[in-house]
Symmetry: C2
Amino acid sequence: MELRHLRYFLAVAEELSFRKAAERLHLAQPPLSAQIKGLEEELGAKLFERTTRSVRLTQAGRVLLEEARIVLAAAERAEQRIRKADLGLIGTLRIGVIRPAANDRLAAILRRFRDHFSGVQLILRDLASTEQLEALRKDELDLGLLRPPLGFPELDFVFLEESPMVLATSTDHPLARKRRLEWKDFDKQPLVMMHPTVQHGYYDGFLAACARCGATPYPYQYTHDVSTKLWLISAGFGIAPTTATVAESGRPGLVLRDLPPDRPMVPTIAVWKRGTHSPALESFKRFLIEGFSDVSTPSTAPPFPVG
Amino acid sequence: MELRHLRYFLAVAEELSFRKAAERLHLAQPPLSAQIKGLEEELGAKLFERTTRSVRLTQAGRVLLEEARIVLAAAERAEQRIRKADLGLIGTLRIGVIRPAANDRLAAILRRFRDHFSGVQLILRDLASTEQLEALRKDELDLGLLRPPLGFPELDFVFLEESPMVLATSTDHPLARKRRLEWKDFDKQPLVMMHPTVQHGYYDGFLAACARCGATPYPYQYTHDVSTKLWLISAGFGIAPTTATVAESGRPGLVLRDLPPDRPMVPTIAVWKRGTHSPALESFKRFLIEGFSDVSTPSTAPPFPVG
DNA sequence: ATGTTTGATACGCGGAAGGTATCAATCACC
DNA sequence: GGTGATTGATACCTTCCGCGTATCAAACAT
């Protein structure tokens, strides 16, 4: 059975005349009769009682009259929704957000987007950077707001903002009191780090700077989220570089110190799969870029290692 | 757009592989690609992001995935309901009933039918004989329970039961007291008759018997339903032949008298349009005939004038 | 009796659906 | 890093089916 059969049937059922129905369909009458006949044979049921002078619906025909209208309406709706989706007016955007990016600025952007694109359902997922990259790879996410580096090629990104990396220690740690930190201060220091499975490469810049000055801190504890990491640091389990904006809310027992000169910056980037042509996503990216325009520094070359 | 497109699209969207989808559809891969391409062009929207190694849904594709399932499910449901309708398991039966036929016996038959065919919706319409014939002609009724004669050819019928015609008078009418009625008693009597537009030909037998005996009663009042007719008679507006079963409920002021020998019988028949092949209707007729089997007298030739 | 109207039938054409062979691009694997 | 395997796209051909024209048979109108 094809929609053509239903369209033809509906015309005949409504006109109760093959001739008039054919006219309405801009079709000759013989092929119309043939199509109806074919439909009846396929369904194994007579749909019309025909004489040479009258056409009447059978029981089966009466039922199909109801059903055909439903099917055709559903098909019509499908076409309309496709067109809307293609304009980016409806659809779903699955967006991954790392905790530090879930701030007021992003909330305002989301709110503005929803005001303009009420038909686009935003599905926000609170995921760590590595998890987002994996989700992007598996096409379970349309856009990720996360930290570099990118996990695999086939990704495009745009830089949104960056925040300096600072050192987090407990209040009773010697480095909390030292007047001015130097890279070699971190030699043989125990580090409280995010586990690579949730954030990979985050510490590369820090460790490289240490290495350049001959300092070799060592991994001591791994956590899976930022708040646990800060909690462990405040409990004296070690030190760690972290992003300045993350720990702004004054946490008791925690001290944030500026790193020595040439401190790494921690960018937030928006990432999506290359070649994804989604008008809704394009619109969302426009809102994102505009929302961060006062802080973002557009760059042609990636300001950090990719991959 | 045809259902084929949606079936093909659904396979590709679910498999996310043209090759696997083609396999599932028992189809070669190139025509499948061509069909999807054609669908995309017709809708004016890309449905898949394809590389040589991966197939991903676009926003529009994701929307169509939902919609295609809906449309195909509706089509599936349509086919199933057609088959059921063709077996007479679902559908609607529009049945006309004259008031005198709306009795306990018919109610029991209707109840039994509904128990066996719960999917068939019975639409009962309280209509006079002539109205039913008109409704049958216009295909607004599937079966009529009414009185002869039939209004036009193209009708088939089955005899269900009959009841003797009796005379209705008011209690103070001379004929109410006469010991034994003769046909010539009705000469010059005013008749209270059902209007021909609601019951046509009902009085033919009575008037013919009168005429054979030289009696000529005359039409005096016309009513449009039985209860008004009996009310007028009880009020002394005239006399009328009526069906014995109609006036059983003792109405004050009304007297029913047996007619002279060779009194006409009043049949109840079930009527439908010839050539109507409706399994549900066939089943209903079976229930009807069985329900009246103790009183009906099957006959090959019509026991009354047709037309 | 004749003409008109209606659905069915016969038949031919064109286009679209489907099959086969093949290509280009990418991935896996040694 | 070259090579074979896999995947979707392309080219080309065949088949079939949807559609049009011409015509018929039946029923109604005149």
